[in-house]
Symmetry: C2
Subunit: 273 residues, 2 copies
Amino acid sequence: MPNSRRPKIGVFDSGVGGLTVLQALIGQVPDADYLYFGDTARLPYGSKSAATVAHYAVGAVRYLQDHGAELLVIACNTATALALPEIKAAAAVEVIGVIEPGADAAVAATRKRKVVVIGTDATISSHAYRQALEMRSVAVREKACPLFVPLVEEGWVEHPVTEQVAKIYLAEAFSDEAQDADVLVLGCTHYPLIKPLLRRVVPEHVAIVDSAESTAHDVARQLQIEPLSDTSKRRGVPGLKFFATDSADKFRRMGTRFLGLPVENVLHVDLKE
Amino acid sequence: MPNSRRPKIGVFDSGVGGLTVLQALIGQVPDADYLYFGDTARLPYGSKSAATVAHYAVGAVRYLQDHGAELLVIACNTATALALPEIKAAAAVEVIGVIEPGADAAVAATRKRKVVVIGTDATISSHAYRQALEMRSVAVREKACPLFVPLVEEGWVEHPVTEQVAKIYLAEAFSDEAQDADVLVLGCTHYPLIKPLLRRVVPEHVAIVDSAESTAHDVARQLQIEPLSDTSKRRGVPGLKFFATDSADKFRRMGTRFLGLPVENVLHVDLKE
């Protein structure tokens, strides 16, 4: 039975990238109050060790819980890859990461049972996607693409340099035994912004999976909320509240590009370590 | 009179970039004990607000002082630009940043009294170089180059993509009223690693100034140590000890590229905020 109560959902990321996940969540579960935590003072998590990432993520997640979150979405591939068990252990509510839903979507899309995953250094070297996909009997090629995040943040989402970098990274990713892989998983929340460019660079037969949509599906299922397809229902307006550990003003400016909606109501938060 | 006592010098940076400054220091003042603090768990400072950077830098500098540093070198353009007064106020010993020595070297090199400065977003938007150079009656064009640090960290120091990015950034930097500037200041400690590439991209008549050397000169002067030129003297071997807030192992690996020497003796440090 669909849940009629308006849920309070905590969304956590190291910065603004997770706003692409929030965008998908709003699309699927609009009638909810969202608390988004961006740990912008300590980003990027991609270059940090597992212990550091776990320490930071647990602090942020506790903050969201203290502010009433009844369900937590870890909208950060690195934090999910490096610290999901620690986060789950520290949380008193349900926690959903982006990797399992992403892996499920990849499995549904592949016919060759061969998938390429791209992400930050930390996500890739954690082999979290490899483990999730191999458990589903799908072969995986992993490739770290550390320049994509700064290129997106420079605003070069349709730039010849980004295309050249993408060609170099993806030629390496789709080489040798991964030549005939038919799915590309965007294992970083920044990458949806260069999806049109990546679409041009990867072979036509390759499906591009970004885990934001499937994560949003999982959240809707968890909350027993009716599927998006039923658009005849009157839909609510989401409540949006943002917390950032670095400048609120900067979060507002950058965030709008990632969310595709105006980002207001940002509170600066000082997290003691 | 030259100082005969072996000094203990604290060098602070947000990561491994400051090791290019340490390299210059070792060249000028080899007979010293160096304590290098890399705040790798919280890098990069370049995308953070002034308040956050000041808070982090003061903590690190206090740590170095508590471990015996008698002179502090802020080998981080961002921290110098955003937080030098706060660091000086918090320190009980002499503090030398990289910006004033860099500005002095630029003034000495320019005949047109027109200089281009490149650096991270935070360094450039602080206008610290602009202020230092305008006080010396030199006109300045400032240009943020946020992709250079990740390109250097990707190891693409002699790569066509880096050259293309450099051409775009520098064409913009040396345009309009800055067309006839004759000095390029590398306002970021990562940039010396792409100095040969930048040398090819900027016009021949442009002198490239990196502040590491002039900072090392200032330190030698401060310590009343004989100039480097006197190589007939028996020179000591530097003591090197490193502190990193993220993985010591990662610091060791990355650090060697920046220092040009093996990086050993790395201690992981947890700084409470």
